[in-house]
Symmetry: C2
Subunit: 421 residues, 2 copies
């Protein structure tokens, strides 16, 4: 842990924009997007830099960066080990900023800014300890881990004592699950079937992904032309064969009545899940849908902003796969709170990767080894690979265990630029 | 309607800040606030200006103003009557902005910006027709009114045909309810019991409000010291007597277990409602609470961002009083959608007044006369009275019917400033 203490001297935001090549594809709702990262950089007294990221899709990125700077003063002067020792309470105080809270609470642009700041803190902390984020988290005691979390408004289902118990219980069997550090775990390929791709391109992509070792594929649906969705789903199922998984992503484009009808029409291709079938706030609709379309299961989380909404989805039995995202929730901290909630409700966490998988590759390892979450697979979207200093390594369709200290959030360009200063 | 068409030539935002006097009081969560309005001004070819407002509490105001300007281009060049003829579809397209949508969807800073823009459109429209907003709305046919609304994601409970039927049915009995235009309707006084006030000040305020004709009072609770809340609630009940209503506002400070315990402890003072008892996203908690504390009823809406969340609260029987706010929802348009939803579920709408009552004084008249909503009372907070060109007139505890064309949103200072240009 080093004899020298590490202080945060200043906090800067950086509005990083990466126009997508025309071939990158889009979904049914986010057309005309560019991928942007609202980046937090924590500058310290020791030359170490913490980097936090969240994804946005264009214009809004500047807004998130401005809020990062409004919140930043709370971090300046903090010693990182002391800060992280009580990060749960600190996170709550930032989330309840007496002026900015009105813009949420606990959702929208202010929550994205808190996520970027939080992720920067975790990256810095791991760098200070000289270990990758997954190792840092695995080495914490249950008490230390729970102190990282803001569990307020979960008292009816998950107290701090419950959370510690959920971490203590699987401690004895950790060794059984640590082999994943050597074997890696599967990715699934989101990029075979973006919305705008023609049939030929989907076919080519699926064949290439099969050759690369992937065994699970996502198809974007939610077209105004229902027959197009059905035709393409059958096409992908045929290509993928019965041994592979096919997931359908609706990006919120269906009404509840449409969702019920479409899921029945798509039952033949045995989708592993249907993702974001309708409005992400509509818990009752997802509950009704989940009952109506069984055995097809529901996945969501990309637009679920906080642990309170996730709790409600779980209580309502409205979701089967928890696609929590540490760049939509308030960073690594709230992601871990949702992981424990999901464990309580016995639901698998399969992150949505607003970070392009960089941070989540660590969190999946923690969830499996420390929380005994089943390990299924992690979404793989390589669009921004070249932009990261240490891009996630996916080989033969498997995520490999990252070894570099930190949360894998450093950007190639900024790291380089930073070196000269 | 005038022979000359009115075009929106430009859209400007204005970051209006009004530091509160120390005596203005705060609640349990929004400490250190100033009242701010994120103002939209629509400049037209005819010298008329449309003014839209939303409230924020400080730092965030600038953020909302920036988003107003990002969204503004969609309005430039639009003729106001054509725009309003299909405003529901237009509103949906703005709410689904392909880049900014990521910051929500349909919540947070981007939704506040949409509210400010929308309210400016309604103000301008009423000015062009030379009538106050309530008159404008009452004169629309059910078809015209429903075309103002984005009813997407409500298909399972409120189709456009349902909405038109809800407006058609009370048409025959409108005359029975129009007397409210002459009589006015009661306000309730939010300012007797702000959180920081000492007992003496609450007593003085309550006596003054009684003298002024108010018969309903709100007390801020949610203190860490439960005994303080209980003592003050008894004090206010004693002062107000049995004929007046006392409402308790928790500003989200209780956990579900605390809320159940506190409501039982406060049962003796017969609160008319308990407001925002816990986290505003926690539908399941409010549902459990509503069952546990009957006959005390639950009010909320101040932080409910959109019609989909309101639908879920209503479906869950988790709320009794719908405190919709056209400066939290996407403006007058989504407020009206929530009004119709509430009618469907047979629940009263008692707006929260993020606009200080300026716009809602119109909407309450529409809700009662056209939708046959029961008229209870409207919150009264005079803090910003002097800032408006035409402040709401409350006399003898009653809101008087506004007669000036528009939505009563013009600011005194800006109107003056504008005259010279």
């Amino acid at each position: 842990m080093g004899q020298t203490e590490t202080y945060i001297q200043s906090v800067r935001s950086y509005d990083a924009r990466y126009p997508l090549p025309a071939a990158a594809g889009s979904d049914a709702v986010h057309t005309e997007s560019e991928y942007c990262l609202a980046v937090t950089r924590l500058i310290t007294n020791r030359g170490l830099m913490g980097t936090g990221i969240v994804l946005t899709l264009g214009e809004g990125n500047r807004i998130v960066c401005e809020i990062i700077e409004l919140l930043a003063s709370a971090l300046v002067g903090k010693e990182i080990e002391s800060l992280m020792a009580g990060f749960g309470a600190f996170s709550r105080s930032l989330a309840d900023h007496p002026q900015l809270r009105w813009l949420g609470p606990h959702k929208g642009a202010i929550h994205l800014a808190l996520a970027s700041l939080t992720n920067a803190c975790f990256d810095l902390w791991a760098k200070v300890r000289g270990v990758p984020l997954w190792r840092l988290l695995l080495d914490l005691t249950p008490e230390e881990l729970v102190a990282l979390l803001d569990l307020s408004y979960l008292e009816d289902v998950l107290t701090p004592a419950d959370a510690r118990a959920l971490l203590n219980r699987p401690m004895a069997t950790r060794a059984d699950r640590e082999h994943v550090l050597k074997s890696g775990y599967p990715g699934y390929d989101t990029s075979v079937g973006w919305f705008g791709y023609d049939d030929k391109k989907v076919q080519d992509n699926a064949r290439r992904a099969l050759d690369q070792g992937f065994r699970a594929f996502k198809l974007k649906v939610g077209s105004r032309d229902a027959q197009r969705d059905i035709r393409r789903a059958h096409m992908l199922r045929e290509l993928a064969g019965d041994q592979c998984l096919v997931m359908l992503d609706v990006n919120q484009q269906w009404t509840l009545p449409q969702a019920i009808e479409m899921c029945r029409a798509l039952r033949d291709i045995s989708p592993y899940w249907v993702e974001e079938p309708t409005h992400p706030d509509d818990i009752a609709a997802h509950r009704q849908l989940a009952r109506a379309i069984s055995p097809i299961r529901v996945a969501l989380g990309e637009h679920v902003p906080n642990r309170v909404m996730f709790k409600n989805f779980m209580q309502a039995e409205a979701v089967h796969f928890i696609q929590a995202d540490c760049t939509r929730l308030a960073g690594v901290s709230e992601f871990l709170a949702v992981t424990l909630l999901a464990r309580k409700f016995d639901l698998p966490v399969v992150p949505h990767v607003g970070d392009m998988g960089q941070i989540h590759q660590h969190l999946v390892l923690f969830n499996h080894i420390a929380v005994a979450q089943p390990i299924l697979f992690l979404e793989y979207i390589p669009h921004l690979r070249s932009k990261f200093a240490h891009p996630a390594q996916v080989e033969g369709g498997f995520y490999r265990t990252p070894q570099t200290p930190g949360a894998s959030t450093d950007l190639a360009e900024l790291t380089q630029g930073e070196k000269g200063t």
